[in-house]
Symmetry: C2
Subunit: 648 residues, 2 copies
């Protein structure tokens, strides 16, 4: 190590931090754009191939991942997918009908939505475990947002048209996000937000369903006990509670013994069958038990002409589409990613968005409403041992058979069973352990979660979302506006500099204040940093005075963690230099990155500070300060003369 | 250095990165709140004193800085302030009248606004150089925002009331920002935004004034030359151009020779006097030259009862107040800070906000509209040698005398002279060199500037502001969503690790990939980082395959620059660990800060990774990996066995 150290001796004078070579503006721009929008370099698979034909094939395989697995599809894989597909179909049918009710849509739409979208996803999606279908929270959102302006009871046709239009917009928005590689927008819904938001939505849905189950919809204004008792339908309450208990028990059982996952997966369909049989045999529909009634037979009717782009409802559909689209994306992408991680394959978030978007656009043209990848159904799919997206195709075929032949069987299905199915699914969304984990690890994240929860429960779904995203973004902005600065101290007998608040061994260097800035220097934090650095210097001078030590003469800024700087930042450094100059202090920069060097150079701040005061390491910077202060070899002062040996 | 190195030998096992001691939640919260909201520790002056009385006095001095300088005020200082005060008064009177016209307010309000607010500021402001008064851009903003809903021509009384109410709200908002120490909100208006915004506003105002000067207001629909010529008032054009030329010449002269600052400072008043005399002597008011006319004599009437808190206009006043209040603050604080920097004293931004807020609240009760610290007037004040805020008091007295006795003299002042004064001030706001500087140093900042400029010129003042703030915030969010990761390489014969893209000497370590993350790991960038790190590993593996080198077995993450982490971040690290595990790679963390260690510990991720894979430095981490890979002393592998000798 020894010989290279000579350059580090006294005097300085040469800039030892290399200045990056000038690059053409467009090249820099291109590089930055690529880092920003194509971080995962998705076209690598195409670029690797040679020849036009092979590249086209690779591109096709990129857009339609089923071309990747279809050629090598075997009978063994089909068997696995068949079991998984039938299992999720048995879950999809009752859930589809139930969730359509949440969205105030005709029950048959839930079945339609489990037929076409899974086929589209099977072709375009890159997850092997995701099971496509409608989800409770998005259904609830559609229901509550649309009901503000259109009544599903008074004008069901208009309501349906607006809902389909919203689905169309959601699909277009999702696909656009994917095409323009703006997937990071979904990242702004943090895990904490989603936990709180889902929990809140689940609470609201459960209360709603309970109200329905206890027949409180029929509440009269009379509050005497007799009226209340009359408005109760005990048959409904007993049936609802019974099935809810059954569903919760099976879920609990399957959770404890993952091998019996199919018990909880089959429970909803079993409940529907038992409930329908009970009603059919006892004619309970005449005793206050509401039933689904007539369900239209036949496959999805085309609905392109139902899309409503006319003025008063278009904005409503657009707003609903964008919000529900983002929420649905967040759930679908998170689900896809987690299962991909379990099985160790890669999912391209932006490509998934295009798949979801296409699925919803096609869905909106074939009488389907918003679909995504629900967690519960995908977990069942995964547990049932699915191997490829073929399980979605199997589910789709099962739903098709139901639509073609079995819809009359649902005539006697009691609504309370659907309520029980919804509630049992919802109770699974309230994730206490996650909230406890948030509290333990990060209090701010817990606040975000709680904000989302309370916002949804006491305000509305939208308010909860706004509160949570607002807190999250405020946190990011606060972080950017208030970066940390720390004082570094020397580890005795080395040239290492470490945070004095973390490493107790670190000691002050007399005459030199070493500060480390932990963030890019931007317009949002430039004046804060100026003030904070001034306060560090004041504090240090006070301390020196109290202890009668040598006053500081150098302020070394460790720029190692400063990733970027803008013009406000360069001006700040220049102002800091002038202020320090006036106080008789010299500013020294250590370890600036190449982008920083470039900007400091083009703004002439580098020149003003002086090339000789820029060092590649804090150790060298302090050694030089020491050398000048004592006018002798730095090695003799510091105890150890070897250069390049400090760390930051 | 040698002896400490033994601990670094094989095996690992002990966590050498210290875990911070657990601190009570409230203490942590308090510390964080202090860092966030009181970075400059403003109460230090009070805390330093002993005894209640002395502390109360210190607190009073803190709120009313004039108590600091008043006791030691001398005749010499008074002389300096007297000269400065009279100079700025000669500028304030014509500017005040002109800017009131921009805001569609009666000219006398400009004089009122130069009487009360400077007195308030002299007591509460901490800048010694700031000269208080109305500013062109805020006046323009008030004019354009209020005119959208209230017509100044049709209902001048209502317009005045709404303008005063807006001033009141601006004051309240400013004071609240100061009290809650939210000064950083002003920082979100970056320098680039302000340059573009001011330039755009100046362009709009100049075009407006030119239109007025050329009499284009009287344009008929007839476009034949005779009508156009008739609508021209050549007297007006000649007079306007003459005075504009005079003002620009004097400004140019004063700029070249700073000693003659008073030439340009006195030029507006001289123009007003000469113009008024000319009109009086030639009776030009009968030849198409519009004059100010009657100006009410007497001091500010109280206006508390004029404040309009009734429904339809309150929201307008609130919106106008908040926007103009922030713009005015941004200008005032920037001006105060720059002069404080020149003279090397400290300004507390939040305290200044309270001073500005109080000044505008009191102003709104005494018939003044929005005031702040204009740059031009403060520069004149500074050049004239002001010593304390007393110069504001002198100006205030001069304006008072004008209001009491001299208003009739302005009867014949031609409006074109006021237009010329406005235009000459506005041309000074178009800051080409700053825009060129932005282009050279930072292209994004230039885009922000250009966006603000074009938005103001082709849209409206508000659109320009929204565009510029939007781009700025988007940039911050993009930065947070897309942090930089870089590969570090070893500098041969040392244990130093540096960015491979910056230092050409840095070389790959066989079998180990060293990555450095340059930002906190948050929900906004967690999934990006996971993907980007996966791509780094893929790239590295491809390269190794091509070159036939040893495949990587360790991924060392340098966490030195990771200032903070949230629950999404800890989950990301855990997922990364699992993914790497499955690929047969070991994750190693180097140099995590104390906050990171704490969060990793409470989320159990530390346990999952294993304490033995956390190292204080990259060098030690790589040495350990090497040791395990070769099962021999790391010192023999790396060429240099001394520990603690790397830098990041």
């Amino acid at each position: 190590m020894g010989s290279g150290s000579a350059a580090n001796g006294g005097g300085g004078g040469t800039a030892r931090v290399p200045m990056p070579p000038a690059r053409p503006f467009l090249e820099t721009l291109g590089g930055n754009m690529k880092e920003t929008f194509l971080p995962d370099d998705p076209f690598r698979v195409v670029r690797r191939e040679r020849g036009c034909g092979r590249r086209a094939a690779a591109a096709l395989r990129y857009v339609f991942p089923f071309m990747e697995w279809a050629p090598s599809y075997t009978l063994g894989t089909l068997k696995s997918d068949l079991i998984a597909g039938i299992t999720i179909a048995s879950l999809a049918i009752p859930q589809g009908i139930s969730y359509a009710k949440l969205a105030n849509l005709p029950p048959v739409l839930g079945l339609y939505s489990s037929f076409v979208p899974p086929l589209v996803y099977a072709m375009m999606g890159s997850s092997r475990d995701l099971a496509v279908g409608t989800v409770a929270v998005a259904s609830l959102l559609i229901g509550s947002m649309l009901s503000e302006e259109v009544s599903a009871a008074e004008d069901p046709a208009l309501y349906l048209h607006v809902a389909l239009t919203a689905t169309f917009f959601a699909g277009v928005f999702q696909a656009l996000l994917g095409v323009f590689r703006l997937g990071f927008i979904v990242d702004f819904l943090s895990h904490a937000t989603i936990v709180g938001f889902m929990g809140g939505a689940a609470t609201v849905v459960c209360l709603q369903q309970l109200k329905g189950m206890f027949g409180l919809d029929h509440f009269t204004t009379a509050t005497d006990l007799v009226s209340v008792m009359r408005s109760w339908r005990w048959e409904s309450v007993v049936m609802g509670c019974g099935f809810l208990f059954f569903l919760l028990i099976t879920r609990f059982f399957s959770k404890r013994r993952p091998r019996f996952f199919w018990v909880s997966a089959a429970a909803p369909l079993a409940s529907v069958i038992i409930g329908s049989l009970l009603v059919y045999l006892t004619h309970a529909e005449n005793h206050g038990i509401q039933v689904i009634g007539y369900l239209k037979k036949g496959l999805n009717p085309p609905s392109a002409t139902s899309l409503n782009f006319s003025s008063p409802y278009m904005m409503l559909a657009l707003k609903t589409g964008i919000i529900t689209g983002v929420i649905a994306l967040a759930e679908g992408i998170a689900v896809g990613r987690s299962f991909a991680m379990f099985k160790n394959y890669h999912i391209d978030g932006n490509k998934e968005m295009i798949a979801f978007g296409t699925m919803n656009i096609v869905g909106s043209l074939t009488s389907c409403y918003l679909t995504t990848g629900p967690f519960s159904r995908s977990a069942v799919n995964y547990n049932a041992g699915c191997k490829t997206a073929m399980s979605n195709v199997i589910m789709s075929v099962a739903v098709m058979i139901t639509l073609l032949f079995l819809t009359p069987l649902f005539h006697y299905t009691p609504l309370v069973v659907l309520s029980a199915i919804i509630m049992s699914a919802m109770l699974g969304l309230i994730d206490y352990p996650a909230a406890v984990h948030l509290w333990q690890v990060d209090k701010v994240d817990f606040c975000v979660c709680l904000g989302a929860y309370l916002g949804v429960v006491f305000g509305s779904v939208e308010i909860g979302l706004v509160v949570a995203v607002g807190i999250s973004i405020l946190r990011v902005l606060l972080f950017v506006a208030r970066p940390r600065t720390t004082v570094l101290g020397n580890i005795p007998n080395t040239m290492i500099y470490r945070r004095m608040d973390q490493y107790t061994a670190a000691q002050r260097v007399p005459g030199v204040l070493v500060l480390r800035v932990d963030s890019p220097i931007y317009f949002t934090n430039a004046s804060y940093l100026r003030e904070r650095i001034a306060r560090w210097i004041d504090d240090e001078e006070d301390q020196c005075k109290e202890k009668g030590e040598m006053q500081i003469q150098y302020v070394v800024l460790d720029m190692g963690a400063v990733g970027s700087i803008d013009t406000s930042g360069t001006s700040m450094l220049d102002e800091l230099r002038k202020t320090l100059d006036r106080r008789g202090l010299q500013i020294v920069l250590a370890n600036p990155g190449s982008e920083i060097m470039k900007k400091l150079d083009s703004s002439k701040v580098l020149e003003a500070i002086g090339h000789e005061w820029i060092f590649p390491t804090v150790g060298e910077a302090v050694a030089e300060c020491d050398f000048v202060m004592h006018s002798q070899k730095p090695g003799m002062v510091m105890g150890s003369g070897a250069p390049h040996e400090n760390l930051v």
